[in-house]
């Protein structure tokens, strides 16, 4: 069993997120630039997605429909990511079929996007991805949204609805797990935590959700909605496979979000709270026991934008997850009927001339001990912490750039250093492996067109 498969199995077993370790790249799509007449730097810090400027935040809230008024724009884009991964020590098993124990070069993914204005108030961000490691194609992230701009008492109001397949993918700020730093991750190395909260990608692509949102007076953002799980048949038809099926998503799922946003042109900031509740029935049998997850998060970010020559950003989030593990307990997969998981992220970045980027992100996950659920971990805990550093170069995406608005490119070097992994700094797996053995160097080339 490969590391990735092992991780997926663990995630399915727990009903938890597997997103970070199998992280793909997030997204930047030039079709939006072609549609709006804007340069990539208008919407993205550093000229490459997904980190949004205030302009980008509002473009997303506006349903991806803003244009320069010219006709004939085609809402199609593409993306290709290739990388090299080196880990501090060889992995015990090859991380994917056909890969080596270390020093892997890969075509991470190639994606086609339907991204842009589809009708007057209807726009999309839909991604179909070929996974170069898993050698399969499937519907990836999806955010189809309707937005209507109006005003109340002279104050601007955007009312919208989004149909999407990942709780948080629709969020316009870069603080929820789906779009937070690091924006690209190694598919064959280590790039975060092995055990995550449910809202941290635990259900991505395996659910369909409808939420409604309002953005009032360019300040207040509120969103509310619910998700339903896809049947196994639907997952098979969408080429998702059933190995990662989280189980039947029981009723009473709820996603909610409240945030305060200020765009002061020279600087911007936001602060908010969010929550997601879901029940998952792993065996899909009627009347069977259900695991329940209650996620509650707080987040904030600050951006100093100035003249855009020197941009500083800081983002942070903390998520508490309360788990009721009835199904796991019944199946002998957990010792305790309940427990908590806590995730903290704090990231900072500096971007020079919208070309050179330097980022650092600190991550920390802690959880209650459970001798069965975390039996493979030291001290029977999921605790993991570390720091991710990244330097990147984005030569295009600015006014007058070569091939603008037809192509963009980012070359980056990312290094993730672990001080604790799955419960310990040393011998976390009982076989003598240290957390620092998982330190990962990830060199990537990421292009979109």
């Amino acid at each position: 069993m490969t590391l990735l498969r092992s991780f997926r199995r663990c995630a399915a077993l727990l009903g938890l997120a597997a997103g970070l370790m199998a992280a793909g790249s997030s997204h930047a799509v030039p079709s939006y630039a072609r549609q709006t007449g804007q340069d990539c730097v208008a919407c993205h810090v550093g000229g490459f997605g997904p980190q949004l400027t205030p302009f980008g935040v509002k473009f997303k809230m506006g349903g991806y429909t803003d244009t320069d008024g010219q006709s004939g724009k085609v809402p199609l884009s593409g993306m290709v990511v290739g990388s090299f991964t080196h880990t501090g020590k060889d992995q015990a098993e090859a991380p994917a079929p056909g890969s080596r124990l270390n020093d892997n070069r890969t075509l991470d993914e190639a994606s086609l996007f339907i991204a842009g204005k589809l009708a007057d108030q209807l726009g999309s961000f839909m991604q179909i991805t070929y996974d170069g490691v898993g050698k399969s194609s499937s519907l990836d992230q999806m955010d189809l949204r309707f937005a209507h701009a109006t005003d109340i008492g002279g104050k601007d109001l955007i009312l919208g609805a989004t149909l999407n397949n990942n709780p948080g993918v629709q969020d316009p700020f870069n603080t929820l797990p789906v779009w937070s730093f690091p924006y690209a991750g190694s598919p064959l190395g280590f790039g975060g935590v092995e055990t995550g909260t449910l809202i941290n990608g635990g259900l991505e692509q395996h659910v369909l959700g409808l939420t409604g949102y309002a953005f009032y007076d360019n300040s207040w953002y509120a969103e509310l909605g619910a998700y339903r799980g896809l049947s196994r048949t639907a997952q098979e038809r969408m080429s998702l496979g059933t190995a990662d099926d989280p189980g039947r998503v029981a009723g009473n799922t709820a996603y909610w979000r409240l945030a305060w946003f200020q765009d002061l042109k020279r600087q911007a900031w936001s602060a908010g709270v969010f929550g997601f509740n879901a029940g998952i029935q792993p065996d899909r049998l009627s009347g069977g026991p259900t695991n329940r997850y209650h996620d509650l998060g707080v987040d904030a970010q600050y951006q100093f934008l100035g003249t855009r020559d020197h941009i500083f950003t800081v983002q942070g989030s903390h998520i508490w997850e309360r788990q009721s593990r009835d199904a796991m307990l019944a199946a002998g997969e957990a010792s305790h009927a309940g427990g908590y998981l806590r995730e903290t992220k704090l990231n900072a970045s500096y971007n020079w001339l919208q070309t050179w980027g330097f980022s650092v992100g600190r991550f920390l996950t802690t959880g209650d001990s459970d001798a069965t659920l975390y039996s493979a971990n030291a001290h029977n805990k999921p605790n993991t912490q570390g720091t991710t550093f990244q330097a990147d170069w984005t030569p295009w995406g600015k006014e007058g750039s070569w091939l603008a608005p037809w192509a963009n490119l980012r070359l980056g070097a990312q290094y993730t250093a672990y001080s604790e992994y799955n419960g310990a700094a040393r011998n976390y797996d009982g076989s003598g492996r240290k957390a620092s053995d998982n330190n990962t160097l990830f060199l990537f080339a990421w292009t979109s067109f």
């Binding site: 302009f55 008024g69 003249t307 006014e399 007058g400």
Partner: protein, 115 residues
Amino acid sequence: MLALAAMLPTARAAGDMAVGGKLYAENCAECHSVKEGRNKKGPSLFGSFQRKAAALPDFAYSDALKASGIAWTQEQLDAYLTLPKKAVPGGKMKFDGLPDAKERADLIAYLSTIK
């Protein structure tokens, strides 16, 4: 002759151009270019000072701006940049305005040099 020259509209507005350039980068450059013929979501601002509004043939202006009949004089720009939605109701520009009169003067001074 000198008296006649003094009566002609000034080709450059008063204000601190250097500060105006910075204000332009902070507030305007995402949507506007100062390069001739380079329209973004907003039209190129090259040569816009004292030009009739909605004058570029290859840009899709709002009907409201086309019907406004205004020209971008110092006074009209000052009113427009104070609160675009009030100066041209129904216009397309999504900008909340510059409330500081000194900043508006500096920005207009910078724009008056772009030609």
